[in-house]
């Protein structure tokens, strides 16, 4: 099923074999167990579970909050990446180093910190309260938590690409009489779009599945602020293994498709 192209370098069988065994034992067989469990259901039963109003509401919530968080990151992340790559200013190194904080910080810590911040009695929450709206325990709070957790994705995928665009290209375009919007439209957008989409999709995929940072701030109301991973937990705690695995399978398929998409995008970037 496979062929070696570099006959001189040894270890193909060993490394591929090891990779496959390791992946199978740790990832594929366990995930397969979930499919096997869900496969005990008929299509009709599976459909009845995943199309129940509460599941659909959670699905919509998880998707929209993850989408908005990814969009917000698409904007803020682009800004940060651009500023970090193109300008030298005081504190640049600090910002650059700290961008990865959400990856390094345990999600539970992020969860309680953000709740303390955005709850009506919190530092930011009381301002929102005074202005007449709520952040914690609403979809807005979930979106903000997801934005925090997925912040590094867009920044980190855009940075190397922006570094690779020579300024001369833009300057040349400008010298040839291109207006700023034209430089933007015909030079910058095509160059960074695939990377931007990759970062966006990564943030989106991670956002759908995120649990630890969200449950503290979500409010967990069925039909309103109950995210999909929490619903899996709730089903599990009610001894509803079928419900839990059905939703699990649904989420798994979604993340697999998203990942395939991301890998295709990345191939396009590399081929360029």
């Amino acid at each position: 099923m496979s062929r070696r192209t570099s006959p001189v370098i040894p270890g193909f069988g060993l490394t591929l074999g090891y990779t496959l065994v390791y992946l199978s034992l740790l990832v594929l067989i366990p995930l397969g167990a979930m499919f096997a469990h869900a496969a005990q259901l008929s299509w009709a039963q599976f459909w009845a579970i995943v199309s129940a109003p509460r599941v659909v509401a959670a699905l919509q919530l998880s998707f929209t909050t993850a989408l908005f968080a990814a969009l917000l990151n698409g904007i803020v992340g682009t800004l940060l990446a651009w500023v970090l790559v193109r300008y030298r200013f005081p504190g640049r190194k600090i910002i650059d180093a700290m961008i990865d904080l959400p990856f390094a910080l345990p999600t539970a810590v992020a969860g309680i910190a953000l709740t303390a911040l955005y709850a009506p009695a919190g530092l930011v929450g009381q301002w929102a309260q005074a202005l007449g709206f709520k952040i914690a325990y609403t979809p807005l709070g979930i979106t903000l938590a997801l934005t925090f957790v997925t912040l590094p994705f867009v920044v980190r995928t855009l940075q190397p690409v922006l570094e690779d665009i020579p300024r001369e290209v833009e300057e040349a375009a400008a010298c040839l009489g291109a207006k700023p919007w034209q430089v933007f439209r015909y030079v910058l957008v095509p160059a960074v779009l695939p990377a931007w989409l990759t970062g966006f999709a990564l943030a989106f995929a991670r956002g759908i599945g995120e649990y630890g940072s969200v449950i503290f701030i979500a409010g967990n109301m069925p039909m309103k602020t109950e995210i999909l991973p929490l619903l899996i937990m709730v089903k599990l705690d009610q001894y509803d293994y079928r419900g839990a695995t059905s939703i699990g399978v649904l989420m798994l398929v979604v993340s697999f498709v998203l990942l395939l998409l991301i890998n295709l995008l990345q191939r396009r970037i590399e081929k360029r």
Binding site: S2, T15, T19, V27, A33, M34, M98, P106, F148, I262
Partner: protein, 287 residues
Amino acid sequence: MSTVTLAAISAARRGHALGRTLLIAAAWLAFALLLLLPLYIVLSEALKQGLGTFFTALIEPDALSALKLTLIAVAISVPLNVVFGLAAAWCVSKYEFRGKSLLVTLIDLPFSVSPVIAGLIYVLLFGAQGFFGPWLQDRDIQIIFAVPGIVLATVFVTVPFVARELIPLMQEQGSQEEEAARLLGASGWQMFWHVTLPNIKWGLIYGVVLCTARAMGEFGAVSVVSGHIRGVTNTLPLHVEILYNEYNHVAAFSVASLLLALALCILLLKQWSESRLTRLKSNAAEE
């Protein structure tokens, strides 16, 4: 919407000092609001009742045993995933074969699988009602609700980290140096130790750092398989949750700030390995 940002960006690019300043200010503002504020909250809540309470929370036996368990999980999952990452990156970057895209996607999969699912699958496998449950029970082997389950869940969520860092790096570097070493008579292992490893050293460290961070901080997956036995199967993030639920706000944030301090150390390490990596790359480019 990001169109707006980019438009602003290209405007600024043409030398508008004002635009430049505005963009930098906006970046600082976003940074302060999104990242610094949560940091500040953790520290200020932890130190609300002074340093005494802060340290008491950290040296309490349950906190120490949680720290120990977290370190065990890190000490097992990181080396396992380093070996895996090296093997996976090797076969993906040095050879062409059918199904490579699929393999890469599978390697990435744990990265986007919800942590809750990562816990659930081990319950389905090893729980008393699960596939291997009865077999394990007959032999008195406890996997979930014990240390092995916590380690397994941690390994699962950290599978991709080292491989993801190494694959692009090794693809970029190509195989010429290795081929040369082989032609000069080096054995496979000699080639690996003396040629490949030095080349990927910094990328590897970077991957290890990211892997460690995630292993240390995993909450959702571990929460499902832990059983929450105080002093026995609680990791640090779970201990934070327990304290938070015990009216022990200050202690919860104290332990949280310990995790935060570890996270900051990890960022420093990461920054250091990253700067070595870029220096290495630019050196290579100059040659």
